[in-house]
Amino acid sequence: MKCVFDKPFNAAIDAIDSKLEKFDPIWQSEHGVGGLRSRYYDKTGIAKYREWRGCRDTMLDYVTWLKNLGMMGLMVAKDPVHMMKAFWEYRWMGSFLGSFAFVDRLFEGFRGRELEVASLHSNTIVRTLCGLIGTIVGNDRRLGGGPLTDQLVGLDETIPTLFFAGFPTLYPEPMQTLPEFVICDVDQHIEPYYIDVAESYGLPADVCSRCSAETGVSIDDAFPIFGKLVISTNQPCNASESTSMFQRRRFHSVGLEDYPFAFAMQHNEKEGNEYSAQELRNCIAKIEEVYNVKFDWDAFFVAARRINEQSTLEMEKWEILATPYSPLCGIAETLYKLVEWAIANGRIDYFNDTDRKVIKIMRQAVKDKYEPFKGKTRHRAFLWGPSAVYYTDLPTWTQNCWGLNLVLNMDSTMGHNMIDTHDPEKALVDLAKFSEKGVMRHHAVGGWANVNAVWDWAKKLNCDMVVVNDNVACKGMNGVHAMLEEQARDLGFYFCFIPHDLEDCRTISRAEMRKSISSYMSVVLNEKPLDETLVDFDDSEAW
């Protein structure tokens, strides 16, 4: 709706923007007088001041920050005693204080509609994580327990929780998400502590650092304690089985029973799906027995309808992502999808509200032929392989420094088949298929066809490049390097590896990861950086 004041108001804002544009780091980089890295203290990753993005975008980012601050404040205010105890007890809780800086670096350089989408996603992610922290900390037996302590069910963070919607009185809480996975995104220096603990007990240093860190948390007695049962899994791979075995010893020592829930590794096969469906039946029966509850199919179907809507919208998003006009991009897409799928998994309704708002912005952007980042994108890449958890904002850096848009991440293509919402037997098989294609699994295990799908995705999304996250400690994928390089040559894609050590920033630093991209962009593609200040900098002491 237009207002009579719109015109003079917009004119005033434009006048202020033109006066203050010299403080905008993107303007500075365009005019050779600075850039996005100029406002940081050396090494620490702490900015002297926040990014000036123009009046409208700065206000939008301020409101987003204020909402995030409010949600975090509310979380603490609801249960201050448990929160203080948790900060005092758990080293990983202290790392959550870096969340504001984390959100800032995720969306650096975002403007206009891409910032609008990123803000919606940022608030949804923070809301979800505040809920998760509040529930786990508020009911942790180590901190005195809470009203829901016995209704919580601990489970491995890689198990999709949609089936728990059939137990509306129970709360599935991932064991490792807070002390290990999410917190490594926020603070690159937290997991090396737990990895050292595991290695000091004889665990070799060349194993997957995610599993090593989880094992370290277990040895260090740093898992929250709640519920009556912990469901472990073989997701996504054999290293996970190993760490599950270490963790069960600790869980047993604090009186928690564990139940192994094993998904079929060959998840493209019908027999594999049937096997996983039977595993689901067994797991449901175990929960019914331990918690003395009955599975409620009607409640499950409500969540199934919710996730079906999310999957439908997701497929429409992919169609828009294939165009140059998607304001949903980079880490704003990846991180949101990871939280929506791997943490909420259809059990939280406000994700559908966010999805509906975002698809509306995306549809309008296509109509208006709106190109994000002022149309500075030069290359579009499909990102394959699990990303370095200690460098979540790498896609933001590739866009800002080289104009390289990492259009979609392998993990954003997780289970998206429709789930039957009427017949329990059909729903179980659909759910098995959906759950098997989980985090770090859909394209990483289950046969060569799943790995090979990378080229189909790149083609479908109109990418001219494939970037492969090369987790140097992943035993599963080390053997396919040469084959991927050969295929890229044959199919005519630009192709680049980014080496990393998943959760251990000491093996391959963020600076080394950036260098691998910069070398490819400058030597192979003969590109010049969009922002000189981003090419070489030291953030070794940053969170």
Binding site: L66, G98, F100
Partner: protein, 56 residues
């Protein structure tokens, strides 16, 4: 009417003060500086002095 105007004025004043305070904190990156240089070093000192029940 006078009371309503007074109350509205006060309310606007509070909102303005809150806005100025939070926007200053936001623009100066105040909360991150405080956490990075004061709170975390203090907490890390505490975590390093903890004795934990370490076992396999």
């Amino acid at each position: 009417m006078k009371t309503v105007c007074k109350l509205t004025g006060k309310l606007l004043g509070i909102v303005l003060v809150l806005f100025v305070a939070t926007f200053t904190l936001y623009m100066t990156n105040g909360e991150n500086k405080l956490i990075y240089y004061v709170v975390r070093p203090f907490l890390n000192k505490h975590y390093d002095s903890q004795s934990r029940d370490r076992r396999i």
